[in-house]
């Protein structure tokens, strides 16, 4: 644990990716196999289930720190990270005890065993650790107990470090790390070095991702080199059929086969073994339905009949990565599409069509059809591109519909989390419920947004907040309605849960409209016209 928490401390001090890769690869070169396996597991989101709820952790930490729970919670809100809050609150005392020498893997094994223990035993174990460990030890320990171990080490950075340590290409590592594996059941050799794919037939390929178009379409060169298809608003997924194995993986590398029972028919529809890349989309009257319909299906343990009926889905395929056991990723998109279109399609397996157009004007025109076909814009893929790993600029682009916009009034502010914990950065915005000229018009909350302003603007707004804050509700402050911001969002849908009656998708701040008075902000009514 000492070595691992030292690693965390070192990583915490580094700002450059290259330095982090080096430190992490040094760790991989020197740590024990078991520790390495667990480190990989942690940074590829395979942390064992937490043995206690964070509610209990919070109350035990408050007790150990001798602070009331409200003060603990307020502190947590300002720090923004539970493990850090606990370390800050409980580690100020001189380290009283010498920590036992324990490895990362032994701590994790303890934590797994702890799940079966009584609450008192759990509490005793955890409080002992908090008391024994130094600041970074405690921080690391609590991070292992909770959350996703987010400390600025992405899976990509980790695979780079593994590449450096073991001289295996990082693409290959990414592939090997996908799918199901348990650090307690594999050896490092099996995980990273064995060529034997038998062990895991369900494994997907790393997803190839698209960049948004930044400049003009003309910059992409010759239009005849680009495949144009509509971008479906659903869950990006790989559908795998290899012999008797059938699996569906989401882009987040989660196995979601069980969540979509109606797609299981595809296993019998397909004659060949394939790995398909495509989108799971909800369907209504033959056309894609709102993404929010799909959201009802996610994170549900049991899919009820009524849910199946309410939100039927299809798998719309656009790429073929493997056919009859042969990896096609090195072939061009054009070639892969030829194989793909030879497959038999019938619901719930659909083909996402593509076209090669003659001019960029035609591409623009096609994008305007997205409302009609219910897509969120276009995907442009270079027809001679291979299927890469992760995000590589230049081959795949998304060309989304223009976002929707409105001007809204800032009404509530909250301190940010983590990096932004000392500033008010979480803003709530409101629109008028009727014509603002009407004396009874009121501002109604419609969206929250965090991103989109520069640090300088945040500072300026924070200065303004200090003299314009009205009431306080816990960490939230109401502010005088005075500032207007342009808010962009990807979509808007009626919602019974929101006060305004509408829910927006991915709202963000476009700019501070210093030129606009609050009476000129939009009305709720205006949102209605934006519903697609």
């Amino acid at each position: 644990m000492k070595n691992f928490s030292l690693l965390i401390q070192q990583l915490d001090r580094l700002t450059k990716t290259g330095d982090k890769v080096k430190v992490l690869s040094d760790y991989f070169k020197t740590a024990t196999q078991k520790d390495i396996l667990w480190a990989i597991a942690i940074w590829s989101h395979r942390r064992p289930k937490r043995p206690v709820s964070t509610t209990l952790l919070r109350s035990w930490a408050a007790e150990l720190a001798e602070v009331d729970s409200w003060l603990f919670e307020d502190s947590y809100h300002i720090v923004g990270d539970l493990a850090e809050t606990i370390a800050l609150l409980t580690c100020h005392k001189e380290q009283s005890l010498k920590p036992k020498k324990e490895s990362l893997s032994s701590i994790i094994e303890d934590l797994i065993a702890l799940r079966e223990r009584s609450e008192e035993q759990k509490k005793e174990y955890i409080i002992t650790k908090w008391t024994e460990l130094d600041y970074f030890g405690s921080f690391t320990f609590t991070k292992l107990l909770t959350g996703g171990f987010r400390i600025g080490i992405s899976q990509k950075l980790m695979t780079k470090a593994l590449e450096k340590a073991f001289d295996i290409p990082s693409d290959e590592i990414a592939y090997r790390l996908m799918g199901k594996w348990d650090p307690r059941e594999v050896t490092l050799k099996e995980l990273l070095f064995n060529n034997d794919q038998e062990a895991n037939r369900s494994r997907p390929y790393p997803f190839f991702l698209a960049y948004p178009i930044e400049n003009s379409l003309e910059d992409l060169g010759n239009v005849s080199q680009w495949s144009v298809e509509h971008k479906w608003d659903g869950i990006r997924a790989q559908l795998i059929k290899r012999n008797e194995t059938f699996a569906i993986w989401s882009r987040g590398e989660e196995l979601i086969t069980e969540q979509f029972p109606e797609l299981h028919r595809i296993k019998y529809q397909l004659k060949d073994d394939v790995v398909l890349d495509g989108e799971i989309i909800p369907i209504k009257d033959g056309l894609p339905d709102h993404f929010r319909i799909l959201q009802k299906r996610l994170n549900r343990k049991r899919i009820t009949k009524s849910l199946l009926h309410e939100a039927p889905v299809v798998f719309r395929a656009y790429d073929l990565l493997e056919l009859q056991g042969k990896d096609l990723r090195e072939q061009t998109y054009f070639e892969r599409r030829k194989y793909l279109e030879n497959l038999e399609f019938s619901d719930p397996l659909q083909l996402s069509k593509f076209e090669v157009l003659n001019t960029w004007q035609e591409v623009e025109k096609e994008r305007l059809r997205s409302k009609e076909v219910k897509s969120e814009g276009l995907m442009l893929k270079r027809i001679d591109s291979t299927y890469g790993v992760g995000r590589k600029k230049g081959d795949w682009f998304k060309y989304k519909n223009d976002p929707l916009n409105c001007d809204a009034v800032l009404t509530y502010v909250m301190r940010g989390h983590g990096r932004r914990s000392s500033l008010y950065t979480d803003f709530t915005f409101a629109l008028w419920d009727k014509d603002p000229k009407d004396t009874e018009a009121q501002l109604v909350t419609f969206a929250k947004a965090y991103s989109g302003l520069t640090d300088q603007e945040f500072k300026e707004i924070n200065r303004w907040i200090r003299s314009n804050a009205l009431e306080k509700f816990g960490p939230v402050r109401a502010v005088k309605p005075e500032l207007v911001f342009e808010i962009a969002f990807e979509g808007v849908a009626p919602s019974a849960r929101h006060k305004s009656g509408y829910a927006t998708r991915f709202p963000r701040i476009v700019r501070w409209r210093k030129d606009i008075k609050i009476e000129e902000a939009n009305q709720i009514e205006d949102l209605k016209n934006l519903v697609r």
């Binding site: 602070v67 300002i78 983590g418 990096r419 932004r420 000392s422």
Partner: protein
């Protein structure tokens, strides 16, 4: 809201009986100043009263102003009302301001800290009926280590950098933190150079304190002559063009805000050293308990949370709005120098 002796107005904390303001944020006729930081000692007042050690820096920063210097522990009278300054331990010259009238005592802390930093005269906390206190770090997550430990960390970082031929850069406020670093860092680790803004403050303090061999950073200094150097810059000095020729820089920030990861990452420095010229949570509690005040007013910092805490431990505490700035937000205050 009126307190017995001091009230909060749009111009600042006001003593009506003596017609004088404490650290006003709008221009007034007469002001008593707790310390020379820009948010407490502002432009435009007709007359200033401050401790002798604050006077040179105030003149340096504000120009030819009318400042009357007074001593600690020596009562003086303003329009017949008795005031006394006591050391506040925040920076050189920083003072608690006490006002006594008809048997009632009110105390304004300005900014203060309990730990003896070796260069500011240590805090002499006072008993009072009404206490107006800052609580910049009034949360239990803020607990400072003794400064020797922090200086040992800084020195070991500096020495590591020197061995790897990196130049060490610490960002610190030009008045206060910079002098505390200069006073406590042992120069045997290598040469120390300071930003001209810091050199100017040092110059103005020269009748009070001196720092031996400290050179001023400038475009004509050749880094080859200063192997393993430590550069001390105000937070606003990080864009200085001549830094480029100092080779690979390792940067650090020295501030109480560095206690949290979020703030360390926000500053985008290699290291954050947790060293503050304000009271931490325990020190605030110690001082407030010592004061035996029946009324505590929390001004800048985590005022709502901290005053709620004080009420729970039995104090009659509330908050008031002031226009002193949180250093995290107003990190560019040094650029005015």
């Amino acid at each position: 809201m009126k307190t017995d002796l001091l009230s909060f107005t749009s111009k600042g904390i006001y003593c009506a009986a003596a017609d004088v303001y404490l650290d006003p944020w709008r221009p007034v006729d007469k002001a008593i100043i707790s310390h020379a930081h820009a948010d407490h000692s502002r432009y435009g007042n007709k007359k200033y009263i401050a401790h002798h050690h604050s006077v040179p820096v105030m003149k340096h920063r504000l120009g030819a102003v009318n400042v009357q210097g007074v001593s600690w522990n020596e009562p003086f009278s303003v329009n017949g009302i008795q005031f006394t300054l006591y050391p506040a331990g925040h920076i050189i010259g920083s003072s608690l301001i006490k006002v006594t009238h008809k048997g009632k005592v009110a105390l304004f802390t300005g900014d203060y800290k309990l730990e003896d930093d070796g260069i500011s005269t240590p805090l002499e906390m006072q008993r009072c009926h009404t206490l107006i206190t800052e609580c910049t770090f009034g949360l239990p997550i803020f607990r400072w280590k003794p400064q020797q430990e922090v200086f040992a960390e800084i020195e070991s970082w500096w020495s590591f950098n020197r061995q790897h031929a990196f130049t060490s850069v610490i960002y610190a406020y030009s008045l206060g933190k910079a002098q505390r670093l200069l006073h406590n860092l042992k120069a045997d680790h290598g040469p120390i150079l300071v930003h001209p803004a810091i050199a100017a403050v040092n110059e103005s303090l020269s009748s009070i304190v001196s720092f031996g061999h400290v050179e001023t950073l400038s475009a004509d200094k050749n880094p080859i002559d200063y192997p393993g150097a430590m550069l001390i810059l105000p937070p606003s000095g990080r864009e200085a063009k001549y830094l480029k020729k100092w080779g690979e820089l390792k940067t650090a920030s020295a501030s109480g805000w560095m206690a949290t990861r979020g703030n360390r990452r926000r500053r985008n420095v290699d290291r954050g050293f947790v060293i503050s010229d304000h009271c931490d949570f325990d020190a605030l509690n110690t001082c407030i308990k010592y004061s035996e005040a029946d009324k505590v007013i929390c001004t800048h910092g985590f005022t709502d949370i901290y005053s709620k805490y004080l009420r729970e431990i039995g104090f009659n505490a509330r908050t008031e709005y002031v226009e002193f700035e949180e250093e995290e937000i107003e990190e560019s205050k040094d650029s005015m120098v």
